[in-house]
Point group: C2
Chain length 152, copies 2
């Protein structure tokens, strides 16, 4: 289980993962080596899944964002179906959901034409009987999964 100090380290790393351990240490009131040991444990235990860069989608040819609810005539939660969705490059996330749709998919494409071709690929996944697409006009904001912390 993680404690308050871990959470404070996590929040700072989410804001900027290039922050030196010495600076993190000063912020949480520990030595750099201790913070290092904690981050190491957080990585090994899977709390920190990876260190990554957030890329502007429009800059890499993925300026169009849409959410697609996919319905099917078979259960779409098993590995084969998930793999099939994973094989479609434009899909960023796939979630098995409760309710009428069985899968909710987040799609990024260069243009609406590219979006159309992703939809075509989705239709080719075995069991898919229909899709309903919601196109995003503008993203208000998007931020990391923030743990609750009293004083950042």
């Amino acid at each position: 289980m993680i404690d308050e100090t871990d959470r404070r380290i996590l929040v700072r790393l989410q804001r900027d993962a290039t922050t030196p351990y010495a600076e993190l240490a000063a912020a949480v009131g520990l030595s750099a080596a201790s913070v290092h040991a904690r981050v190491r444990r957080l990585r090994e235990s899977g709390v920190i899944r990876r260190t990554t860069v957030e890329v502007d989608p429009a800059a890499v040819g993925r300026g169009v964002l849409a959410f697609v609810t996919v319905t099917g005539d078979v259960w779409m939660g098993d590995p084969d179906t998930v793999e099939a969705f994973a094989g479609i490059a434009g899909i960023e996330e796939a979630h098995i959901v409760a309710g009428t749709a069985s899968v909710l998919v987040k799609v990024r494409a260069a243009t609406t034409e590219g979006l159309q071709s992703v939809l075509r690929e989705i239709f080719h996944v075995p069991g898919v009987t229909g899709t309903q697409t919601t196109v995003v006009l503008e993203t208000g904001f998007s931020r990391p999964v923030t743990p609750e912390v009293p004083s950042p």
Copy 2:
């Protein structure tokens, strides 16, 4: 504008942002200093928005994920409304969308009770007339916005 080399660097940094410049340099066939200069430019131009850690939501008390479509009787795309959504801690993303709903929101909470309280907060945002919630049972996958690259 970014070139092929930039894209290849981006893909590798997305996979692991702790990769040393020397290793990136070897992968793309440049010197470490060149790669450093490129990454610097990518950051300053906003292509790389930030370097961050991906945290397991369940480990920080956000194991419940839901997508909420929010309808309103006023236009919900202006800054005030977006700010109001940003003020709700459980909301990870807010998108202004085309179609019947005006805003699509991604919510993370510790429990279904926590989800309920986020929904209550959403209802308190001026102009909101209704919500429709889709609860995620399981996330099939979630990955970075990948630029298209011939050989990674």
